[in-house]
């Protein structure tokens, strides 16, 4: 008899429906929009291993912000640690580092149109022509070659070092090998070959090109206690033609770890940021610094002092010439972006997703 009761009990269970609402994560009215051809994307990293990175769209004319546009449009999370975004025509390529993929979206309505998968730890994408792009990798000692027609990996370039940002110049692509390294690498795009490398200060974290076609590299110098060693941060000017160093500026305090070197619309000024990042440092004058490409000294005082904010990212809108600064606050709540003129006057402020880490400017 008992056995029959067990069966009865089991059958009765089958008629009981579940009550956790898991489908709500994709069953909702999706965002349908048509945004103008200009605007600013903020790539929010989110928390490592939380899969909560997100995309914010800001319209500088109306000063309106749309947060979480990728998820709200596509009902899919962007992924884990979105790193960067680049636009080719009206197509956006969002590189998601810890999800090993690149999402491709229409930048006007945010609809996801494709993806490049099968990567390991991608950081940035650079378009070589209509058919080919390169993707850098934090850990791998080779670049990915992407076929933009099929959105697949078509090959690798063994560069013997890891890679980070890209600068395209003539027939070359330059990349900085940041993590525990000190190299700038020169790759020829027609042959997909590494042709030269140059030693700069330890841990070159960002690279730009100015109006005179000179490369500028900002090296943070590593961190205290690193087996790779720590040295004072450096700013280096490089001639891309003969690939040689023309100028080096050395930061006088070893605790200063500047990052996010960028340039203004005219490409005649350099901007970068540093703050109190390590618990053991005590940096005075943290904030955003600005200097002319012709200056003979590093700037002594910040253009925009951080005043306790957690400046985490910096970039300049090449179309409006405004400075965009991301504040990560406590790294676990929606961040803030402050907009300034290149003279340091406040323009606007808007809320983003968690950890605003990079910007992408649409015409």
């Amino acid at each position: 008899m008992i056995n029959k009761l067990y069966i009865l009990l089991l059958i009765s269970i089958l008629f009981i429906t579940s009550c956790m609402d898991d489908d709500s994560i994709y069953n909702f009215n999706r965002l349908k929009t048509r945004e103008p051809d200009y605007g600013v994307f903020v790539i929010n990293e989110g928390n490592f291993m939380y899969s909560n990175s997100s995309l914010t769209f800001y319209n500088p004319k109306t000063k309106q912000t749309l947060n979480n546009v990728f998820y709200n449009t596509n009902a899919l999370p962007l992924g884990d640690v979105a790193q960067s975004m680049s636009i080719k025509d009206s197509t956006g390529y969002i590189v998601i580092n810890n999800s090993g993929k690149i999402y491709i979206i229409n930048t006007n309505n945010f609809k996801y149109t494709g993806k490049i998968t099968g990567l390991s730890s991608p950081r940035n994408i650079v378009f070589i022509n209509d058919y080919k792009a390169y993707v850098s990798d934090l850990y791998s000692k080779s670049l990915y070659i992407i076929n933009l027609q099929t959105n697949t990996i078509s090959g690798n370039i063994n560069i013997k070092h890891t890679s980070e940002n890209f600068i395209k110049y003539k027939n070359y692509v330059f990349t900085n090998s940041w993590s525990y390294d000190n190299k700038i690498l020169k790759i020829e795009v027609t042959t997909d070959k590494l042709i030269d490398s140059l030693d700069v200060g330890k841990q070159p974290n960002s690279i730009i090109i100015d109006k005179n076609n000179k490369l500028w590299v900002l090296s943070d110098g590593g961190f205290a206690g690193s087996s790779y060693g720590q040295e004072n941060a450096k700013l280096t000017q490089i001639n891309p033609e003969n690939f040689s160093i023309e100028k080096t500026f050395i930061f006088d305090d070893i605790n200063i770890s500047p990052f996010d070197l960028c340039t203004n619309k005219n490409k005649d000024s350099l901007f970068f940021v540093y703050g109190n990042w390590s618990a053991t440092q005590n940096i005075q004058n943290s904030g955003i610094y600005c200097m002319s490409i012709d200056d003979n000294n590093l700037p002594a005082n910040p253009l925009i002092p951080s005043n306790g904010a957690n400046f985490y990212s910096l970039d300049i809108n090449p179309y409006t010439n405004n400075v965009y600064v991301g504040d990560a606050i406590d790294f676990n709540q929606n961040g803030i972006v402050y907009i300034f003129t290149t003279k340091g006057e406040a323009v606007d402020t808007f809320k983003t997703g968690i950890i605003p880490g990079a910007f992408c400017f649409k015409k």
Binding site: S51, F223, S227, T280
Partner: protein, 661 residues
């Protein structure tokens, strides 16, 4: 027949009503259990003893599963057999200590215990001291501490247990214990081996491909890859007793290999992002007790060796596999404690101890060659006085003074009282106030890169008041009920924050006000050969960020991430002749994944309701007692997540056979 119908009805009604009252602030739970004899040391302490029925139900499972299903302890679970962090009273994992026979199992390197690595079947006695009540056992357990004991059966001559599990997703667990002994000497040997491939299938709602014709999204069905768990262990115990001396020597070896599955947003190289962790531990525990008239001396000594190896592997076509991270951590600890107790009378007891702990920790990350090598010495002093003023009132005073590397940690005091309101119902009111300090772990201080050697200890001030009822009407009905309100304020709470330079650092930047209510009930009821045991918990936890509002901005005054406000569980066990059925329900309200309680569907961790059922039959073949059990996990076949990006298994099964002689 009727009874079973009632049970089914009960489950149904309970479930339906629960689902309907999702966000309701009041959850009513009827409660129940049996009590133990009171020890003067426990009078003003808030302690929860885990019933043997529960330990039996969770045999071959880990301590994290037991805590999550039957106690108010909240467990943040990253998936079956993978890492789990616990929170008592809204605190962090580092604020919960686990003591085995009085010795802390907390890693001096990590400053926490991995609860998913502690198997339940090594212990026959598990209890939890909440909040300040942990000060009686240890310091730094701001949330509370778990006690694991092995009680020795001195009458044993030869006995043994064999347990074999076979479950879904290639889960195979084996456990064998042999106990032999004579009057003064008892040996116990335990061996276990647990394996799970853990490769359940799930519908991945976090990725999709677009159908080229219809434009519709296709969500793939995927296997939970790279999630295997393999653990084996050996436990040997030798116990000796003569006259007024007891000696106990335990050796415990355990080796665990775990793969840590990727997030379900991952679409990278299938051979990349492979995470593996190995945890190896070798422990020796020695305890001797000497009794004389009114005094008792205990001497404890332990050597604990722990090794962790974490690897992250990637793959590059043409280059093959390479390690991206290969990190080792080795800690060697020596614990010594001498405890002296003197009983002036039945009403006054004094207990004092001194302990000296020595930790040596070495970490090394092979790829980048970063690491540290540090030693920590702890000299801890403890004195306590337990005093029964009259028939109704008793009190306890505890004072701890710790020196860490010759630096004085402020005094840790505890004061508690217990008042007997009603003798008939054994109804007590208990109250206590305390202050506690938790020192930063060696990783917090010295981890390369980012460790912060200037960290201060975390400081907690707390108070609680509790009502405890223990009603034994007769042999057929027993109820143990307790309700507690607690308040605690934690200062200098340590949090790790990332930086744009690619590494994290810990800071003493948070202040947390935590308060709440805990209700526990246990019932034993016997009628017409039917024995019913039930255990239920409800807790309300408000754990609020009170840090500097200029720094924390929108997180100020918000509930800490991943701490549910409401949580509750029910365990009902019904035995009828040789048959039994156990029903386990566990639920908690929504959790936030951001510090500012951002509500986004993407980040929503909806209320959690989990139901498990097990049933079986106990019978004898000759002298062998056989218990054959079938367990159904996730009874209602829920599709769910408890953290972001990690799916959980749907309905799954386990068949267990237990032989005992």
């Amino acid at each position: 027949m009727k009874l079973l119908q009632i049970i089914i009805l009960f489950i149904f009604i309970y479930k339906v009503s629960y689902c309907q009252t999702n966000n309701n602030d009041t959850i009513k739970i009827k409660q129940i259990t049996i009590s133990d004899k009171k020890n003067i040391k426990e009078t003003s302490i808030i302690i929860q003893k885990i019933d043997s029925n529960i330990i039996a139900e969770e045999t071959n499972n880990s301590l994290s599963e037991l805590l999550s299903k039957y106690t108010p302890v909240f467990v943040k679970n990253y998936g079956k057999t993978s890492l789990s962090t616990v929170s008592i009273r809204g605190t962090a994992t580092s604020h919960t200590d686990v003591l085995f026979n009085g010795i802390s199992l907390k890693s001096p390197m990590l400053g926490q215990v991995d609860f998913s690595l502690i198997p339940n079947n090594l212990f026959n006695n598990i209890s939890i001291n909440y909040g300040g009540s942990s000060i009686i056992n240890t310091s730094g357990a701001l949330g509370g501490n778990i006690n694991l004991y092995n009680k020795i059966n001195w009458k044993n001559k030869l006995s043994g247990v064999f347990i074999q599990d076979i479950g879904s997703y290639t889960t195979i667990n084996s456990f064998v214990a042999i106990n032999t002994g004579i009057k003064n000497l008892q040996f116990s040997t335990k061996l276990y081996n647990n394996y799970s491939k853990n490769d359940f299938t799930f519908k991945n709602k976090n990725i999709s491909t677009i159908d080229s014709l219809s434009g519709k999204y296709i969500y793939p069905y995927q296997k939970n890859k790279n999630a295997e768990f393999y653990q084996n262990g050996f436990f040997q115990s030798v116990n000796y007793k003569k006259n007024n001396i007891t000696l106990s020597l335990n050796y415990w070896h355990q080796n665990t290999n775990r793969a840590i599955p990727r997030l379900n947003t991952y679409e990278g190289n299938d051979y990349s992002n492979i995470n593996k962790q190995n945890d190896l531990s070798n422990n020796i525990f020695f305890k001797s007790t000497y009794y004389k008239n009114k005094s008792k001396i205990n001497f404890y000594s332990a050597v604990i060796n722990k090794q962790i190896n974490y690897k992250l592997k990637n793959y590059i076509s043409g280059n093959g596999y390479y390690n991206v991270i290969n990190s080792y951590g080795v800690s060697n600890s020596l614990y010594n404690k001498i405890n002296y107790e003197y009983k002036f009378s039945d009403n006054i007891l004094i207990s004092t101890n001194y302990s000296f702990n020595y930790h040596k920790v070495k970490t090394k990350e092979i790829i980048q060659n970063n690491g540290y090598n540090k030693i920590r010495k702890e000299n801890n002093f403890y004195i306590s006085l337990y005093n029964k003023t009259n028939n109704r009132l008793s009190n306890s005073i505890i004072i701890r003074q710790n020196l860490v590397d010759n630096k004085i940690i402020p005094i840790i005091p505890f004061f508690g009282i217990d008042y007997l309101i009603s003798k008939n119902n054994d109804l007590h009111i208990k109250a206590s106030v305390s202050k506690n300090y938790n020192i930063a772990s060696l990783n917090d201080l010295y981890w390369q890169p980012g460790g912060n050697p200037n960290l201060k200890p975390e400081e907690s001030r707390s108070a609680d008041i509790s009502l405890v009822l223990n009603k034994k009407t007769n042999k057929i009905f027993n109820i143990l009920f307790s309700a507690t309100y607690y308040y605690s304020y934690i200062n200098n709470w340590i949090i790790w924050l990332p930086s744009p330079l690619g590494y994290w650092s810990p800071y003493n930047i948070n202040k947390v006000k935590s308060q709440g209510i805990e209700i526990n009930a246990k019932i034993n009821y016997t009628i017409n050969k039917i024995h019913i045991f039930a255990n239920a918990n409800y807790s309300y936890t408000s754990s609020i960020n009170k840090g500097d509002s200029l720094i924390w901005k929108d997180a100020y005054n918000k509930q800490l991430p991943y701490i549910p406000k409401h949580s509750g569980n029910i365990f009902i066990s019904i035995k009828y002749k040789k048959y039994y059925i156990n029903y386990i329900h566990n639920s908690y309200s929504e959790r936030y994944t951001s510090s500012s309680q951002e509500i986004s569907r993407r980040d929503w961790l909806y209320p959690y309701f989990m139901n498990n059922l097990s049933f079986g039959k106990m019978f004898n073949i000759k002298n062998i007692n056989i218990d054959l059990k079938f367990k159904i996990y996730n009874l209602f076949n829920e599709e769910y997540r408890t953290v972001l990006g990690r799916p959980m298994p749907r309905q799954n099964y386990l068949l267990q056979i237990k032989l005992k002689f």
